[in-house]
């Protein structure tokens, strides 16, 4: 029986420690991992907890992230609670197996500490790896700070393991900005946390000899389409409700409220920024300041990136006049993901705001209050003019001649 850890009411944890404490409290059966910066401490801390008797499960050292996720798939199919962590290049190497995990409907939890993708090599935070995973069939949740990294990692188990969901879940946090920034975190006690998640319920485990089952079948044009459709159907119809229920249960327990799409000052906002990660909090602070200056600024932040909360996004932005979608990943030849998704969602509604796209913070480039202030001012001008007063896509915080398109 694992030892319990005595935690203070307020701990000062960085995002990595928050994730690893949540993994510890979940009492996972198998963690197969291959550490990579900046998520290394998630695995390192977990190994430390295991060595000191705080964890009963198995820790499997593997030779690559491909093998790490493969180990997770095997253990999850066998019928265990499973999790791992990764970043960037490691995430990229895992991608092949990410599709296997979701296709086999295995509720693995993956802590993703977001980092840029090479070349050129870079260890700092941007959302390239998060974006890389968005068609993989996983549920993707995004934490904006250390506390949320803890909360969402706990909740990820309950969401993914729900009988109606049975899908793997990623919990994203910003590399270094969140993962290596120690902040106040209010953890649950070990008992409360475990009770919230509950015992792992096996569904069709491979190791049930009374009911042998094959995972990883081959299907060609006669069956493949139906299986993929079934998975897409469940992503589109089952996740939102279950996730909101888990968020509500968590709020009841902790007082901390989560929504599929977070909104800040949106009741009367005329201009809004749509963003992900730690940027959301900095933008919230700037929005307060903008309001003092007479600009009715608001923030909309998808807590869930996949499945995409189409209805909630449409509703959250149904009244604003101008929107800036902030993408922290190089779109490499297109408009940014958030721009495309948000615009597509709004096209189905009655509101026709002016929407612009900003590319920022690649490779951990600092995104400052000043940048966000500039964006709100440009949005204010767009709203007042009733048309785009800037190019459609702009790079912000970039050296050299102004880079913009359309």
């Amino acid at each position: 029986m694992a030892e319990k850890m005595q935690l203070n009411e307020v701990e000062v944890w960085d995002g990595n420690m928050s994730a690893s404490q949540a993994l510890r409290q979940a009492q996972i059966d198998v963690v197969a991992a291959y550490p990579i910066t900046p998520s290394t401490p998630v695995v390192e801390n977990y190994g430390n907890f295991l060595a000191n008797g705080y964890i009963d499960g198995e820790f499997i050292m593997v030779e690559s992230e491909h093998a790490a996720m493969s180990g997770c798939v095997g253990a999850a199919a066998a019928g265990g609670r499973v999790a791992t962590a990764t970043s960037s290049q490691g995430f990229a190497l895992m991608v092949e197996v990410l599709y296997q995990a979701s296709g086999m409907r295995l509720p693995i939890v993956l802590a993703v500490v977001n980092r840029a993708l090479a070349a050129p090599l870079n260890v700092n935070g941007d959302h390239s790896d998060m974006y890389l995973g968005r068609d993989s069939g996983w549920v993707q949740l995004d934490a904006f700070n250390s506390q949320q990294a803890y909360d969402l990692t706990l909740m990820a188990f309950r969401i993914g393991e729900d009988y109606n969901v049975r899908l793997p879940v990623m919990v994203h946090q910003d590399g270094f900005i969140t993962s290596h920034t120690a902040q106040n975190v209010n953890p649950l006690s070990d008992d409360e946390a475990y009770e919230f998640i509950g015992d792992y319920k096996k569904v069709n485990p491979m190791l049930d000899l009374a009911k042998p089952v094959t995972y990883g079948v081959q299907t060609e044009e006669d069956w493949h389409f139906e299986h993929k459709a079934r998975q897409h159907h469940d992503l589109m119809t089952k996740i939102f409700g279950v996730t909101q229920d888990v968020f509500d249960a968590f709020e009841e327990k902790t007082g901390r409220k989560y929504n599929l799409v977070e909104e800040y000052f949106m009741d009367d906002a005329e201009v809004a920024i749509v963003a992900l990660g730690s940027t959301v909090e900095t933008a919230e602070m700037v929005a307060r300041k903008m309001r003092e200056e007479g600009i009715k600024a608001g923030i909309v932040a998808p807590r869930m990136i996949r499945p995409w909360p189409h209805e909630q996004i449409k509703k959250a932005l149904s009244k604003v006049k101008a929107i800036a979608c902030l993408d922290r990943s190089s779109p490499n030849g297109a408009l940014g993901m958030l721009y495309n998704e948000v615009t597509a969602s709004l096209y189905q509604g009655d509101n026709r705001p002016i929407i612009s796209n900003y590319i920022y913070g690649l490779g951990g480039r600092d995104f400052t209050i000043e940048h966000i202030t500039d964006i709100f001012k440009e949005l204010d001008a767009n709203a007042k003019e009733g048309k785009l007063t800037t190019p459609l896509q702009q790079f912000i915080g970039l050296r050299g001649p102004k880079l913009s398109f359309y």
Binding site: N8, V10, E11, V12, D14, P38, V123, N145, D174, F176, I177, T178, H180, T181, A182, Q183, N184, S278, T279, E281, T282, E284, M285, D366, F367, T368, I369, E370
Partner: protein, 185 residues
């Protein structure tokens, strides 16, 4: 909001110092941040670490900072690092050095007219802890200069932050904190 920037070399304990300070402050009900810039952080490479302290939840995640305090824990960094970057008129400097304040300012005119305090954290850590880990002495000096906490309260709080270490190491750190507290000028 109170903002602090540490100048250190990787391996000297600036991150641990910043996190230790955050831990102590958080216990008083305030909100804290402790973070650092990491590049290819090899032992000895110059690096910076940061603290923010506020009465309200800290939402800001930009790395840019106009520090209230600049803590330089390696004696050579005042000569090679841009320790006055983004300073305010009110920025206070606590600098590790074996020089006198006059000698230091004369060699570094950028510090002229600034509120500068000196303390020899390197010598203190070598004498007390036995290794060049100048982070805890710097915290002692910061307590004295800022008046954030009195010595006894801070030492007690640090004892529980360091509780996983052997008693010998805790005692050495307490001695280091006290000596720096009393010798910073």
């Amino acid at each position: 909001m109170l903002e602090i920037r540490w100048h250190s070399r990787a391996g000297q304990g600036a991150v641990t110092g910043a996190k230790g300070l955050a831990d102590v402050v958080a216990r008083t009900g305030k909100y804290v941040q402790a973070f650092a810039f990491y590049g290819s952080a090899k032992r000895g490479a110059p690096m910076t670490a940061y603290n923010r302290v506020d009465e309200e939840e800290i939402l800001i995640h930009e790395k840019f900072m106009r520090p209230d305090y600049v803590l330089v824990i390696d004696p050579a960094l005042v000569f090679v690092a841009d320790v006055t970057a983004h300073e305010k008129d009110s920025t206070k400097y606590i600098i590790t050095t074996h020089l006198s304040k006059e000698e230091l300012i004369e060699s570094q005119p950028k510090l002229k007219g600034k509120e500068v305090y000196i303390v020899d954290c390197m010598q203190i850590s070598l004498d007390t802890i036995g290794r060049a880990i100048p982070n805890t002495p710097m915290l002692g000096a910061l307590m004295k200069v800022s008046g954030m906490f009195d010595l006894e309260y801070f030492q007690n709080a640090m004892k529980s932050v360091l509780s996983k270490f052997p008693q010998k190491i805790i005692d050495a750190n307490m001695a280091a904190i006290e000596r720096a507290y009393n010798s910073v000028k």
